[in-house]
């Protein structure tokens, strides 16, 4: 009778069974997240003894090498500086809008550093720092936030999709990119990012299901920062964790302390590795916190206590990492100076760029709607051109 259990379900055919058996655990044990979120640094930045890192059989993660950790720290410092510079520019009215990832930089940096150059990343509006860390010029990323109509950088060049605003839609694109690569025999891994609120959208479900059914190497990386604008996680889901959603797709889920740079990098790396090796998707939920309002247009005092924000300051990813690396002897004063100098340079370039208005040709709004503008658009373009000409004369 046992062979009739779960009739018709294909768990036998999936990589989950192989993978879990290579860890010596059951598929269910493997798919469900470890009993605690994975954490390697305590809130003060001390390394947690291995036994207390939240791991359980099949859920152990090796600590990344020192130079990878130092590179991550550098990206953290630059990322924080970019966040804070942009925040200031918005306040000065020199930038239209900026959804800051202040407090979430460990997730941002981990996302970028876990990927190889042939891999793809699908970020949201909040993932500017991840995009920069992967190599896009900060000025290019800021193009759309300055009020231009396009995404600024070339998605194909960087293998980073345009920041996505319609929530969760991009996860399906990530699956498609991975599937195309798989069909061509390439081992591209795709990192697909979204927030906690976004997991409620239907596209989240469809993306995870498609990824699992087509066995494509997509790492779904959810930054659970506690809020979707004003709505706390408790009003978003009743699940034991967002990572638990994985099992409903026949996928492994894991939860990580998203303010612990070491754990984020370790878990993301393993996820990317497994995804690539076995051509399978995984779900990683990072517990983090949005330290600032949703955007400058938001007033977070309406829906949360400042005490809550204060509490999370104690777990600042940057400070934890600095303490850890300093005590580990990886970060010294010289390196610190070099890194903060670099961060200041990036910030200065941003400030400088924002002193001039971006150059925009109004007529270009007609040029990229189709590969070749239709007769109708050429007519409309001519009309606007005529208006512009007359207004210059007038």
């Amino acid at each position: 009778m046992t062979s009739e259990t779960r009739d018709g379900t294909p768990i036998q055919g999936s990589h989950i069974k192989e993978t879990s058996s290579s860890f010596g655990i059951t598929p269910e044990q493997y798919m469900l997240p470890a009993a605690q979120q994975i954490r390697m640094l305590d809130p003060e930045g001390k390394l947690i003894p291995e036994a207390a890192q939240g791991t359980s059989p099949g859920h152990e993660y090796p600590i990344p090498e020192d130079d990878a950790l130092l590179a991550a720290y550098e990206a953290l410092v630059v990322g924080r500086r970019v966040n804070d510079q942009n925040y200031a520019l918005v306040r000065q009215g020199r930038l239209a809008v900026y959804p800051s990832s202040h407090g979430q930089e460990a997730c941002q940096v981990g996302a970028a550093l876990a990927l190889g150059t042939g891999d793809w990343m699908f970020p949201t509006y909040r993932d500017t720092v991840a995009t920069i860390t992967r190599g896009v010029d900060p000025l290019e990323v800021m193009v759309s936030f300055r009020g231009d109509w396009h995404c600024g950088y070339d998605p194909l060049q960087y293998k980073i999709a345009a920041l996505s605003t319609p929530l969760t839609t991009q996860l399906l694109h990530a699956v498609g990119v991975a599937h195309a690569a798989k069909l061509r025999g390439e081992d591209t891994v795709v990192l697909a990012m979204c927030g906690d609120g976004a997991t409620s959208e239907g596209d989240f479900h469809e993306a995870l299901n498609f990824a699992a059914v087509f066995e494509v190497p997509v790492v779904f990386f959810v930054q659970n920062n506690g809020y979707a604008i004003s709505v706390p996680l408790s009003a978003q889901t009743a699940a034991p964790s967002l990572a638990h959603k994985a099992i409903g797709y026949g996928m492994a889920g894991e939860q990580v302390d998203g303010n612990d740079m070491v754990a984020v990098l370790a878990t993301l790396r393993r996820a990317v590795d497994l995804a690539r090796k076995n051509s399978m998707p995984l779900l990683l939920e990072a517990i983090t916190y949005r330290m600032q309002a949703h955007t400058n247009a938001d007033d977070d005092s309406r829906y949360r206590e400042s005490a809550e924000v204060e509490q999370w300051k104690q777990r600042d990813p940057l400070l934890r990492m600095r303490t850890f690396l300093t005590e580990r002897g990886v970060l010294d004063a010289e390196a610190e100076t070099r890194i903060s100098g670099k961060a200041e340079d990036v910030a200065a370039a941003l400030r400088l760029a924002m002193t001039t208005e971006p150059e925009m040709n109004p007529l270009e709004i007609f040029d990229h709607v189709y590969a070749a503008p239709t007769a109708q658009l050429r007519e409309q373009r001519a009309k606007l051109a005529d208006e512009l000409e007359r207004s210059q004369e007038g």
Partner: protein, 357 residues
């Protein structure tokens, strides 16, 4: 149904203080909730936060989290749950955060909300309201400024209202909530913070008295639509709705300086459509310009042009012109001024109306 044939209230304007469009909407919802326990409000961030535009501000505090509440972040879910609640005796008023973020709900809206009354042979009606902030002019980034009314207007079974004044914001939302049919209620974002001297409590009395008076002729938008002439004129008709009415009025003023007397018609409801008002103004002036923010192709503006020529062809002295957004994705904040119907562009259209004939 309230008698609101004229857009301006007849209440004494003596001590009315400036009221925003947003406050009028907010008061309409709270008055409706006050009067009817089946009215409830939900959507993304509408509870504690009061909505990203603060239109639902204070409703949770006043009526409790059972009657105004946040949902998980899923628009199809919101529309689908509203459908079920309306099936089971409620009058849900739901908010879509921005125009383009209503698209995940389109299947629920097209295949169920629009069709339920019909497929149940009138036994199940869905008295629900979907509020959609729409249009541009507020410096919004991509996906935040679509004018999506055409999608809904093309779908039989939905009513489409869009107010252009503070008093209409109040009266039409009350009417939408009281409607036995599902209403897509389009709120022009750029008007949210405009103010008019409107006495909301006078409007409340006016609306509720009329609603109680069974013998009063139903002068609400009802089954006929009810456009209003917001400026009288004799030479040309400017036809518009929602965010474009104020632009049309400004253009009419500018045209007056050139000696052209433009009449301005505010459609108010796109479905039902007020053909009588449209025919009346076009018959009177013989010329028309239709103004709307949405891209023009296969749009509400196209429908208006088609109706004018079908019904008033022989009154026309020149072709009807459209001044609409271009057929492109909504452009960036820095360029939207070039995209949106402007006074200048309306004046250009007037110039082309073959006045020499």
């Amino acid at each position: 149904m309230a008698n609101t044939t004229t857009a301006t209230t007849t209440a004494p304007a003596v001590t009315t203080k400036p009221t925003t469009f947003a406050a009028a909407l907010n008061t309409a919802m709270s008055d409706a909730m006050e009067g009817d326990r089946s009215v409830c409000v939900f959507g993304e961030d509408v509870g504690t936060l009061g909505g990203v535009f603060r239109i639902t501000d204070g409703l949770t505090q006043r009526f409790g989290a059972d009657r105004c509440f946040d949902t998980p972040l899923a628009e199809s879910g919101i529309a689908g749950m509203a459908t079920g609640m309306a099936i089971n005796g409620m009058r849900p008023v739901i908010e879509m955060q921005f125009d383009a973020f209503a698209y995940p709900a389109l299947e629920q809206i097209f295949s169920h909300i629009a069709k339920t009354a019909n497929r149940s042979r009138g036994r199940v009606r869905l008295p629900l309201v979907i509020r959609i902030p729409y249009g541009g002019g507020v410096g919004g980034v991509e996906h935040h400024c679509d004018s999506s009314e055409a999608y809904y207007a093309h779908t039989p079974g939905l009513k489409i209202y869009t107010p252009a004044t503070v008093s209409d914001a109040y009266l039409m939302l009350r009417e939408a909530i009281d409607s036995p049919d599902p209403v897509i209620f389009f709120e022009p974002k750029k008007l949210y913070w405009t103010k008019e001297a409107v006495d909301l409590s006078a409007l409340r009395t006016q609306y509720e008295d009329a609603a109680q008076d069974e013998s009063a002729p139903s002068a609400g938008v009802g089954a006929e639509g009810r456009a209003v002439v917001v400026r009288e004129g004799t030479d040309v008709s400017l036809i518009s709705y929602g965010p474009s009415v104020s632009t049309a009025l400004k253009a009419a003023e500018a045209a007056a300086e050139d000696g052209i007397s433009a009449e301005v018609l505010d459609l108010r409801s796109i479905v039902p459509f007020d053909d009588a008002a449209l025919e009346a103004t076009v018959t009177k002036t013989g010329r028309a310009v239709v103004i709307a923010e949405a891209q023009g192709f296969v749009s509400v503006a196209a429908e208006i042009v088609a109706r004018i020529q079908e019904r008033s062809f022989h009154s026309l002295s020149s072709p009807v012109k459209r001044v609409t957004g271009f057929d492109i994705p909504y452009p960036s904040p820095k360029l939207e001024e070039h995209h949106l119907p402007s006074v200048d562009r309306i004046l250009d259209a007037l110039d082309e109306l073959q006045w020499e004939d």
